[in-house]
Symmetry: C2
Subunit: 297 residues, 2 copies
């Protein structure tokens, strides 16, 4: 059974004429006859009544419903990829908690304005999990900290973050080693790339990895820092966005530890749906506006 045959069948059923159907679909009458005959042979039933009026038989009418479902699905699939201008379908994005909270909202808003027919789904998690999701095909693209070493990725430096130490009291210098040793550190669950920065930081002060508490959400983590439970390390933008809600204080860290780039990663552009391609374009534009000196070079 071929979709082409079903198209012709539907045209005959609707127009009541083989000739008209042939013209509508830019072919000749003999081909319409042949296609319908083949359909009838395959199904073992007469689908079109030719004697007198040309109209679908009972069996033909029964087939119409299924043919419509097949052709509708086909047309939707085609418009998914070949839809001119407007993308449609679904876009699944994986991003870190901090990126989702601070960086994504304006970009998603711009994207949704440009492509209102795309359903957007966000999955959050630490970098390592996001990479797994991408490899698994559970998301179409991810925002991760640091370059992905894996080949065959399309990478775009999306955001530059500056990590700061976050604590419950004002700081002008790094806490003493003694203080660091006795304090707890709060981080996202295993796989969070910021977590290794914490360990780097501790190591640079001659302190072995102390107690590290894992958190699932940014709010919970900041709440506990504010309550004096310990320190954490987060992008400056993220902290600033929440600073009015929590009594927290920050301290700048040395550049070698502080600077982290967030990359947009997906597979090769040839594998992108129009929805994803359009998102990458939106992102490129947003990045260009944020960092004009980079695009000028």
């Amino acid at each position: 059974m071929q979709l082409k045959s079903l198209r012709l069948f539907m045209a005959v059923a609707e127009t009541g004429s083989f000739v008209t159907a042939a013209n509508q679909l830019h072919t000749v009458q003999s081909n319409v006859t042949a296609h319908i005959k083949k359909l009838e042979d395959e199904l073992g039933v007469q689908l079109i009544q030719r004697a007198g009026r040309v109209r679908p038989t009972s069996a033909g009418l029964a087939l119409v419903e299924y043919a419509e479902r097949m052709l509708t699905a086909h047309d939707e699939a085609v418009s998914l990829f070949r839809g001119q201008e407007k993308a449609c379908g679904r876009l699944r994005i994986g991003a870190m908690e901090t990126t989702t909270a601070v960086r994504l909202p304006p970009i998603l808003a711009a994207y949704h304005a440009a492509q209102p027919d795309v359903d957007i789904q966000i999955k959050t998690g630490p970098t390592a999990e996001l990479v797994e999701l991408l490899l698994d095909g559970q998301v179409d693209c991810v925002f991760v900290a640091g370059r992905l070493e894996h080949s065959r990725y399309h990478l775009l430096k999306a955001f530059s973050e500056q990590l700061v130490l976050v604590g419950s009291t004002p700081m002008t210098t790094m806490p003493s080693s003694q203080e660091l040793l006795t304090s707890a550190f709060l981080a996202f669950r295993q796989g969070c790339s910021y977590r290794q920065r914490i360990e780097l930081l501790l190591a640079s002060h001659g302190v072995n990895a102390g107690r590290i508490f894992e958190f699932g959400s940014l709010d919970a983590m900041l709440g506990c820092v504010a309550a004096g439970m310990g320190y954490t390390v987060l992008p400056r933008g993220t902290v600033e966005a929440h600073q009015h809600r929590f009594g927290i204080h920050t301290l700048e860290l040395p550049a070698s530890i502080a600077n982290v780039d967030t990359y947009f990663a997906a597979f090769e552009p040839e594998t992108w749906t129009p929805a994803l391609a359009s998102f990458a374009e939106t992102l490129r534009e947003a990045v260009a506006i944020d960092e004009p000196q980079l695009t000028a070079s």
Copy 2:
């Protein structure tokens, strides 16, 4: 886009291998490559990631959903016509009020037992309307009074009815012409074939068509007859089935007027769905049991 290509695509997406997919669908690997390549060219997107692991890309995963819808619809359509043993789908029957009430129930019960997967829909109406429904393709078959003169019908004499005069008082002879003239006659709405029998009856007693009231349902009609509103003409079996509920009385009519055959009518058997073919078979069997003398001849 061809369903065959989608089948191969789905097999590749599921098995992660061109070779395995080829074997599953009884073809060779080079054909799988060609079909998928053609799909990719048509949609302008890479659907399968070949480098390293063979797996669907984002675009491929998006297509999977639509491919499933198309293939499922296809398989269902095929099983509609080529389903071995069990028919499925829908059977739309048109029948007269009286036939539906008395004759159809046992046949439908037998049919449903034989073909539990078929949805049965009954439309009731007078003979003339039923013929229209059949011609319009709104039902698959009808039960009508009298042979359909139209050619190209498949006809089967289903039931022989004997019409009786129904009134509110016991009768031993035909009411007088005077009585008939002053009485009302109750019939189904325009198009009911029994209605012409009433007019025949009146004419044979030298009475021109008097007042005829139209009713939409059997119950309403019998209720009004019992209340002394007038006479009606109905199959004996129908009246007997309702006699315990209404105070009504019958009188046999001369055979020329009384005998009416109910025919099963549909288009040629080649146009039948398996559901309809099976119903015709059930009906033939039921008729053979009711009238063994006919099948013996």
